[in-house]
């Protein structure tokens, strides 16, 4: 069973570590993903920064990286992590590959949401004399806020998943807790506890995301 005297503080630390990894990843990866998505959208044939080479390169990289299982991706970018973060183990070392993967996946999600904006609305703005840059920021991005919020909410779950895997490289967090105490020490109750906390975190994020998206949809 659970010995709360030791497990209590342990759990608190794990929650803190998980939240730390997830939040930092969501912020940095979220911004990078938004930029990649906008760049993909803008370099598309017929758009403002139309650039077939850049568009194809970005597309290729995303298609290449996205299907790599995260645990393999960690070791793949390991040398780079070491160079950028200074170490390849620990919470900060975990955040690096998490951020990269998040940026790549989000890039695609953002691009798809921008492409999905009704071309009629874009045409209406252009007909008013709005410049293409202005159309991108005032209309395309603005009209996609609600679906983007849902996209970010969706990614959040993936990031929590990645944070658990990151336990393997000493990132700590709830995944690490479940593995070291639950799995390796045959304490199933700890595993259940870790699951319960993750479910709560994910559900809260989902609720918040849905709430914000709904407000932005104005329905």
């Amino acid at each position: 069973m659970i010995d709360w005297a030791t497990m209590g503080p342990q759990l608190a630390t794990s929650i803190q570590q998980t939240l730390y990894m997830v939040i930092i990843t969501m912020i940095i990866g979220g911004i990078l993903g938004l930029l990649i998505g906008i760049l993909l959208y803008a370099t598309r044939p017929g758009n403002i920064l139309q650039n077939t080479v850049l568009f194809n390169v970005l597309n290729f990289v995303i298609n290449l990286v996205r299907p790599i299982p995260f645990i393999i991706f960690i070791s793949l970018v390991g040398p780079w992590t070491l160079e950028v973060i200074g170490t390849s183990i620990g919470t900060n070392a975990a955040i690096f590959p998490m951020t990269l993967m998040t940026a790549v996946v989000l890039g695609r999600i953002v691009e798809q949401n921008l492409v999905g904006v009704d071309p009629g609305v874009v045409e209406a703005a252009r007909a008013m004399g709005s410049s293409r840059t202005r159309v991108l920021f005032d209309v395309v991005l603005r009209e996609s806020i609600a679906p983007l919020i849902l996209g970010y909410t969706f990614i959040f779950i993936g990031v929590v998943d990645m944070s658990a895997v990151a336990g393997y490289i000493g990132g700590g967090g709830l995944g690490d807790l479940a593995i070291t105490y639950g799995y390796q020490q045959f304490n199933y109750a700890v595993t259940l506890l870790a699951v319960a906390v993750i479910v709560v975190i994910v559900q809260l994020a989902q609720l918040l995301g849905n709430f914000l998206a709904k407000r932005m949809l104005h329905r």
Binding site: D118, G120, V121, E123, A124, A125, R126, A127, M128, G129, S130, S131, R134, D138, V139, R142, E143, I145, A146, M216, L217, H218, R219
Partner: protein, 364 residues
Amino acid sequence: MTSIVSFRDVSKAYPGRGAAKGKPVHALRDVTFDVQKGSITGVIGYSGAGKSTLVRLINALELPTGGTLTVNGRELTGMGEKQLRGLRGGIGMIFQQFNLFNSRSVAKNVEYPLIVAGWPKEKRAARVAELLQFVGISDKARQFPSQLSGGQKQRVGIARALATNPEILLADEATSALDPETTTEVLALLKRVNEEFGTTIVVITHEMHVVRSICDHVAVMELGSLLEHGHVYDVFAFPKNPATQKFISSTIADKPSPDTVARLQQLHPGRLVSITISEAPGSGAGSNQRDISSLLASYPAVHDSVVYGSVTEIAQRPFGSLTYVLEGPDHDVDAVIKGLSQLTTVQQWPAAAVAGTDDEGAQR
């Protein structure tokens, strides 16, 4: 009247897409015509005729690939992107699907073109209030588009299009997504815009009654070419081009179809003729119906009865077609038809024996 938009041999070819790559699509071919300042000009034609292309050239959403296009005295060819944006800002546009910004409230939708045009904030609020008042939706200012009916959405669209006091308003199938009653209201609003502000309006439509109720000029298009254009009444009542005649009779539906002709011939013995009711050409006063009635009355041996048709007005002038069955001695019926031909356009339907073949009847 002076012209505000003038097309001179304007062509537009799009590069072919997909399977047709390398083979350009000729959306417009050598179009020459003028839109009169202050007019409401209708553009009609079957799907794919090039109507939207024609209108999108006026506000430079597309650029011509041939010919010269002059809008508001300025030639479009050679203009830079910045100048083109300025030009677009002075032309309003409304759409079939309204194309409102769903993430912005009604008031913010109407405000947006003012922001683009660089109006100071203090002036914007007053202008938005004035516009919403004009289109009759002041109470909806804080609502979002998804909370409005189709008619209300189009009113927002119109307010937004008029925000910067444009000299030209383009409407691409602006009432096609609305029910008949709402269509009438929106058309009345457009008419009011034209009358109160003198805005030149170009409306694309496939609904004949739109042209009938608000347009004073009309242009008929087919397969990228402009077949005919002029005053609505002249084009509708006396179409010169056979394709225009066909388009008009198919959309007005006041002439019987081949099926109907066959049925009528079975029901009624006698000769079937369709005649055009209009102002007698050149007379400029009253319909030709009076002369037609007198003519028929002067042949008592010929019994006439109307079996199909309708008479209405276009641009407040009489317009329609009536189909008669004429019964009597052959000689007299021939004389009546000859007399009618001098008064109006007569279409004789072939006798019952040949009905049902592809022969559409002779036009005199």
